[in-house]
């Protein structure tokens, strides 16, 4: 149950103030409802990661007591954490949702994609994603991207138009004013929609705490076998680690973001409750991706280039 949080009296806020989490929640719900009203075939990208879990939670709230009028899509790299896949399947079953899976492994097996020498599969997600959008004729695709994540994302719109190649041209993006979102598009084009645009990592965690949302256990501190590569703790697996010169050790770790096993690093942590996680994040001196995502370190312009190719 939601309660609208009263703001501290010393804020001098009036009777009708809205705490920032309530403002962000109302804004995200407005975006979900806007898409429901303007598009034929929307889909939510759902990976079982915390941002997509929060998106689904907001979508459920936006249409209650009716069902969410969207299906879900997971682009499965084949290198996901088993805990996260279990969570994904349980969630889909519990809410009676429809899940589409686009599999990177299938694309590799039938030769449409080739494995990269470094073993990372995140950049390979673009092709199966665009294929699924095309095959299912999805016209709006919800992503959990936030503008605070990375410099190229700071310019992203809430409604982001993509051409028939899924491409993102920063100069072709439409100005977005007030709360008026323009979702019109030509056949073959689609719109990526980011309901969490204005949220920060801390907002997401505080909202998870406030709403008591269950997360996959790997977001909390647990003992796990890890090895060190490029300054990150990675989990061993069939994806290609550890190499001969890398040593596996057991450590208490948790994950701040959950993506492909090959490029998602764990941080050392003793935080076993959500409050402890929030305290650690609030005190952290590293941004979310800088600490844990190898793929964004590729180059200063890496994200910008991949967005142009149709990645998120």
């Amino acid at each position: 149950m939601t309660t609208v949080t009263a703001i501290n009296a010393e804020e001098g806020a009036g009777l009708y103030a809205l705490a920032h989490l309530d403002a962000l929640e109302s804004e995200a719900v407005h975006i979900f409802r806007e898409v429901a009203g303007e598009f034929e075939r929307p889909v939510i990208l759902f990976s079982g990661g915390k941002d997509s879990i929060v998106m689904l939670h907001l979508a459920l709230k936006a249409f209650a007591p009716a069902a969410v009028p969207f299906s879900l899509l997971h682009v499965d790299t084949g290198h996901n954490f088993p805990e996260v896949i279990d969570y994904r399947d349980n969630t889909v079953a519990r809410h009676g949702l429809r899940l589409h899976v686009a599999s990177v492994q299938e694309f590799i097996d039938d030769g449409r994609l080739r494995e990269r020498p470094d073993g990372t599969r995140n950049p390979l997600q673009t092709v199966p994603l665009l294929d699924a959008i095309d095959k299912n004729r999805f016209d709006a695709v919800f992503g959990g991207g936030r503008r605070d994540e990375e410099k190229a994302r700071a310019k992203e719109r809430v409604f982001s138009l993509r051409d028939e190649f899924g491409g993102w041209d920063p100069r072709r993006q439409r100005p977005e004013l007030w709360q008026l979102y323009n979702g019109r598009h030509s056949p073959g084009e689609h719109v990526r929609v980011f309901p969490l645009s204005n949220w920060t990592e801390l907002d997401v965690w505080q909202y998870i705490a406030r709403e008591k949302i269950d997360l996959p256990q790997i977001y909390y501190a647990h003992e796990r076998e890890v090895f060190r590569r490029s300054g990150m703790w990675l989990a061993p697996g069939e994806w290609g680690g550890p190499k001969d010169d890398e040593t596996v050790e057991r450590r208490m770790v948790r994950y701040r973001t959950v993506g492909d096993m090959s490029c998602t690093g764990a941080v050392e942590s003793d935080a076993v409750t959500i409050e402890q996680v929030i305290d650690e994040i609030a005190a952290s001196r590293l941004t979310e991706r800088g600490a844990t995502r190898a793929d964004d370190k590729l180059s200063e312009a890496a994200m910008e280039d991949r967005k142009r190719e149709g990645y998120f």
Partner: protein
């Protein structure tokens, strides 16, 4: 979560709750690269400890590779490769930072002359605008343009940041003269609240920490002002406006007859028991329930997203507006508005467009473009025939259906609209119904006496 928490867990939960209950301020910056805007924004992020180690490391690395000695804080905010190559900012970028008192969403807009549309975009959701001037140059044509955009978009609070005070020996008379000139000008445009602050973004004076070099200035730093400026308006002063976004009809055995109208309250307060009118049909009913995302409440206010149920089974769909019967807006098919044209394709008399207002989209024709406004001196150029990108002008439209439109000065959310190209969906124009500027009221004078700078 179990209910038998230890006291320590309860304290932790309370701390989370408290930290989650801060207010939020959306603000915009305007100023050119030469005024030091990127440095000011970088300084705000850096000195409020919102820049994290890896971001700073990247900036230090990039600064060193360009042969700069000190880290160039402007690099924190320059996003896209094209901009880095050209050394300019080509679009609105949104940045996020927080202090224990408040969290901030900053629309960082380029100040270059051809990017009026970007400032209009950034200012459209802002409750405060920071206009930057170079103390050596004072109020220039561009400053007047920025003030005019803030006034046009009805941004409630404007901050004049007089930057590079270090280059004028931190001299009070220089600041006082610029502040006086700007305040007089902005007040004449009807800007309700103006605060002038002398700063040096490069040296850090009065951005986050008070300046030791300007003890003649007794006012707040930029960040202190951002933390304390009143957020939001009092919704109880505005008539309620509830554009219906989506009709929720579960049609399940559990909810066979449920029909809820989902939307975000655009202005004012809704209460259970309110007598309401649905526009454009004019049918009336009473609010029987308000579902605030899972909590049944008696009262809700802008900008909450809610679902409303009514006593009568009316034919209501997306695009309708629910309003109090005693304060319903008039409907019209003839719209007069001030617009900012956003697209490289010009807007011409006779153009057939789509008009998007709240949750409705309808056809419209441009009947007339009576004048184009020159922002720098507010002169009107009569009958321009067309508006080019970044032009601001008056437009007369005829819509295909009646439209429940408020004046933009009364409601930014129900007084604004977009014009869209029906052929390819391009956003062409941003419109604000009613008069361009608030009249230069006595109220502006009175507000200045309260909010003046004491030095």
């Amino acid at each position: 979560m179990t209910s038998n928490l230890t006291s320590e867990e309860q304290a932790a939960a309370a701390a989370v709750e408290r930290s989650a209950a801060t207010s939020q301020l959306r603000f915009a910056t305007a100023g050119s690269v030469d005024d030091g805007k990127s440095t000011l924004v970088g300084r705000l992020l850096h000195d409020s400890k919102s820049v994290l180690a890896d971001q700073l490391e990247a900036v230090e690395h990039a600064s060193r590779s360009r042969g700069q000695e000190a880290p160039d804080l402007a690099l924190l905010t320059d996003g896209l490769r094209a901009e880095r190559e050209q050394g300019i900012t080509i679009d609105v970028a949104y940045r996020y930072f927080a202090t224990p008192k408040r969290r901030f969403i900053l629309a960082d807009t380029p100040g270059h002359v051809q990017y009026t549309r970007n400032m209009v975009t950034g200012a459209s959701t802002a409750e405060l605008a920071v206009v930057l001037v170079d103390a050596r140059n004072g109020v220039v044509e561009q400053t007047r343009r920025h003030a005019a955009v803030a006034a046009l978009l009805r941004v409630p609070h404007v901050v004049l940041a007089v930057n590079k005070m270090d280059l004028v020996d931190y001299a009070e008379p220089v600041f006082a003269a610029i502040a006086e000139e700007f305040t007089t000008y902005a007040a004449s445009l009807g800007v309700p609240e103006i605060t002038a602050i002398p700063i040096s973004a490069l040296a850090g004076d009065n951005v986050v920490t008070p300046s030791a070099n300007m003890d003649w200035y007794g006012g707040p730093t930029v960040l202190e002002h951002l933390e304390t400026v009143p957020v939001g308006t009092d919704p109880s002063q505005d008539p309620a406006r509830f554009p219906v976004q989506f009709v929720i009809r579960p049609q399940t055995t559990e909810h066979p007859d449920y029909r809820g109208y989902a939307g975000q309250i655009a202005s004012g307060v809704l209460r259970v028991g309110d007598a309401v009118t649905v526009l454009p049909s004019g049918r009336t009913s009473t609010i029987t329930g308000i579902d605030a995302l899972g909590a049944m409440v008696d009262v809700a206010w802008a900008p909450q997203s809610v679902t409303v149920t009514l006593a009568d089974d009316l034919d209501i769909s997306r695009g309708d507006l629910i309003a109090p019967s005693d304060h319903a807006p008039k409907t019209t098919q003839d719209v007069e508005a001030t617009v900012c044209h956003l697209h490289d394709r010009p807007l011409r008399v006779g153009d057939r467009v789509l008009l998007k207002h709240t949750t409705r989209t309808m056809k419209a024709i441009i009947k007339d473009i009576p004048s184009r406004l020159t922002l720098a001196d507010l002169s009107h150029h009569p009958a321009p025939g067309e508006l080019a990108a970044n032009d601001i002008g008056r437009v007369v439209l005829r819509t295909s259906e009646p439209l429940a439109l408020d004046a933009y000065e009364d409601s930014r959310r129900t007084g604004s609209f977009l014009l869209i190209d029906p052929a390819d969906g391009t956003t062409l124009t941003a419109g604000m119904a009613g008069d361009s500027f608030a009249a230069s009221a006595d109220g502006a004078e009175a507000a200045r006496d309260d909010e003046g700078w004491d030095f």
